[in-house]
């Protein structure tokens, strides 16, 4: 094994990996060379898996590594095949150039133009000949015309060779940013898993924010002194304050008209999971009427909506808010955060506005999660007119926007 060549090859390979987004520093380079020196190069799978374990530090990076490795380290047979392919390709190109030059012998054309002419359709050939005649008149700016024709020819060759960028595989990301309306039936389980993962992440982050202030909360002096009496005034067991419990109650009002039921299901899953710690959540579904819904098991949300008799009925936000106010025992009070999940497309808008004002005066805050990318005129009106009355309308057209809204509100 020629160490110099091996090192040189590895350095080029690492350059390719860096271009693929892997973080390869001098220490990784030194490690890889140490590994190759120890394990040798004779066993390709060992080199591949060993270098991958050392250099690729996530599943995505492993895929980049595998592709780069397979392209870079090839066996003698593959190398010969590739060389043959390159030579074949070059000879075919040369043939095309010669054919093109023969056909355009009275013009001085570049290789690229001749090649493009040879592979072009009859219509394009005619057009190119006309353009060349025009350029050769001598009255035009010839270099400019040549550059123009070269660009056109390059475009034709790209079409020919199918040159284009591969679409990145961003399925998860696309689901994160996809509008609720365009999530297909098949994608729902994956989207719900994404919601679960986001909930875990948000809960973990909020827990960390709290813990950052101190592992066990602030010292509780009163309790510490009280306990120290048992040990002759020596504070052997210091006491710490417990995490303050929120006195806030959350009420969710879900629009279950046909276009809204999927959004309501996702949003309610999110809100339920995020507020599980506090355990003070109540949910209602509405269309032309209002009905309470349990949040313990949301796996059959759509079925429950169908059975409630509210499915495929019109939306009456005013009526629903009125019914919510009339609930006994009261569903809302001054400690309530009311979450409205709706696109604000409602019948009887004056009543909706009136009841919104009424409910607003009974609750701490109203947060309206609207899945529409473009708010309707009525939604815009609510968002601006009632902002001063603690009504906040947030755009939640995708899982990502919904997660952000829920994380900030809850």
């Amino acid at each position: 094994m020629n160490k110099g060549i091996v090192t040189e090859n590895l350095v080029v390979f690492f350059g390719n990996l860096r271009e693929g987004g892997l973080l390869i520093g001098p220490s990784e380079t030194a490690d890889a060379i140490a590994f190759i020196s120890a394990a040798g190069l004779s066993d390709r799978p060992t080199v591949r898996t060993g270098l991958r374990a050392m250099l690729a530090k996530s599943r995505k990076e492993q895929a980049v590594f595998d592709a780069a490795f397979d392209t870079f380290f090839v066996g003698a047979e593959t190398m010969e095949t590739r060389q043959r392919e390159i030579l074949d390709k070059a000879s075919r190109r040369q043939e095309r150039i010669e054919t093109g030059r023969d056909a355009l012998e009275r013009y001085e054309v570049s290789e690229e133009l001749a090649e493009a002419f040879a592979s072009a359709t009859e219509e394009r050939k005619e057009w190119l000949k006309n353009m060349l005649d025009y350029a050769q008149d001598g009255n035009r700016n010839l270099p400019l015309m040549e550059a123009y024709l070269k660009k056109i020819a390059s475009g034709w060759l790209s079409e020919e060779g199918g040159v284009g960028l591969e679409q990145p595989d961003g399925q998860d990301d696309s689901l994160l940013h996809k509008s609720f309306a365009s999530i297909t039936e098949e994608e729902i389980p994956q989207a719900l898993r994404l919601v679960e993962a986001l909930v875990r992440r948000i809960l973990l982050a909020s827990e960390r924010r709290y813990r950052r202030n101190g592992r066990r909360g602030m010292p509780d002096l009163r309790q510490t002194i009280h306990r120290s009496l048992r040990t002759g005034g020596v504070p052997l067991s210091p006491a710490y304050k417990k995490r303050p419990r929120s006195s806030r109650r959350i009420v969710v009002l879900c629009d279950v008209s046909e276009s809204m039921v999927r959004f309501s299901e996702f949003a309610l899953t999110f809100i339920t999971a995020l507020s599980r710690r506090d355990g003070k959540l109540r949910a209602f579904i509405f269309s032309e009427g209002l009905a309470a819904i349990g949040t313990e098991d949301l796996t059959h949300f759509e079925k429950n909506v169908h059975e409630s008799g509210l499915w495929r009925r019109g939306t009456d936000i005013g009526g629903a808010l009125g019914a919510l106010l009339a609930e006994r025992p009261p569903a809302i009070d001054a400690q309530t955060l009311l979450l409205v999940l709706s696109d604000a497309k409602t019948v009887n808008r004056p009543l909706a506005e009136e009841m919104l004002h009424e409910v607003g005066s009974h609750t701490r805050e109203i947060l309206w999660l609207n899945p529409e990318r473009q708010f309707s005129a009525f939604a815009e009106r609510i968002a601006t007119k009632y902002a001063a009355e603690h009504v906040t309308m947030l755009r939640c057209s995708s899982i990502e926007e919904l997660a952000r809204a829920c994380a900030s509100a809850l």
Binding site: A38, T46, G50, M54, K57, R59, P235, D297
Partner: protein
């Protein structure tokens, strides 16, 4: 370097762990270069088990640090024995403690005698080299991860009141993560990396046979194929892990089943699927006959 990748594979197999080439190569790299081994993958694919098996293979004690939200150096590294310090101060004040002035007592209560050792410190102060398992690192916060860097890269820790403590013996460190949050590049680059996926049917059969050498061949295959089918169903939210397929086979063995039919599936499905919706979904397709 004392072993090769095939030797590692063989040793793990002898201790009941069926590992693929990628994992064995990562262990080989970690051992050769004295690096920690970072293993990521879904829950229940055998991440924690690899540390336990490596401890058996290497004949070392296993020191485990189970991470959780809010863990800090007092739980992971060491903590001052507050009660002992207070008693020493009381004893000194009453004249029954060690001789010396205030400076002496201050120096005394911040010495190693007053230190409560936690897993990380224990792993580097042990005379005998150990296998250190830092489990579910993704549950910790970024500050804790940064705190670990010194230990993982230099095999030393710094305690402000005492100074730097270097490892008496280097532990073989295994870090696991379920991906609840992405780990930092700084930590990743210090580790050899392996991703563990759910095993294919043949590997699952091999694992089940290792655990239940006397089990019916056909029953083992039925379970492995059924589990693979359940994992492939997109509507099943909590995919069955290897541990759950082992539990399923154990339940079937306890029932004296010879094959996995409809009745056996209905009776034991709760061993492999956890959640009402998943069980309903799992029972809806025709089970393996």
């Amino acid at each position: 370097m004392t072993e090769s990748i095939p030797q590692i594979k063989q040793s793990l197999m002898e201790h009941g762990y069926i590992a693929d080439e990628g994992l064995c190569a990562a262990i080989f790299v970690a051992r050769s270069l004295d690096r920690p081994l970072l293993i990521e993958g879904a829950a229940g694919v055998g991440k924690t088990q690899i540390a336990k098996t490596m401890a058996e293979v290497l004949g070392r004690p296993l020191v485990r640090l189970q991470c959780h939200v809010g863990i800090d150096e007092t739980r992971a590294l060491c903590e001052w024995n507050y009660q002992k310090q207070l008693l020493a101060i009381q004893a000194h004040a009453s004249g029954t403690g060690a001789a010396g002035g205030a400076d002496a007592i201050m120096e005394s209560i911040f010495s190693e005698a007053f230190l409560l050792e936690r897993p990380l410190l224990r792993s580097i102060r042990s005379e005998e080299p150990v296998v250190l398992l830092i489990d579910e690192l993704d549950k910790t916060d970024e500050e804790f991860e940064a705190f670990l860097l010194e230990l993982l890269a230099e095999y030393q820790v710094t305690i402000p009141e005492i100074g730097t403590i270097r490892a008496v013996s280097k532990p073989f460190t295994v870090l696991t993560s379920n991906g609840a949050r992405p780990l930092s590049d700084a930590l990743r680059r210090r580790c050899a990396y392996a991703w563990l996926d759910y095993p294919d049917t043949e590997k699952e059969i091999a694992i089940l046979k290792t655990r239940f050498p006397g089990a019916e061949e056909l029953l083992v295959r039925d379970v492995a194929e059924a589990v693979a089918e359940l994992r492939a169903q997109p509507r099943i939210m909590k995919k069955p892990s290897i541990a759950e397929s082992i539990d399923w086979l154990a339940a079937l063995e306890a029932l004296g089943a010879k094959r996995l039919g409809r009745l056996e599936t209905e009776a034991t499905i709760s061993a492999v699927l956890k959640g009402r919706a998943d069980i309903e979904e799992g029972l809806s397709p025709k089970p393996v006959e």
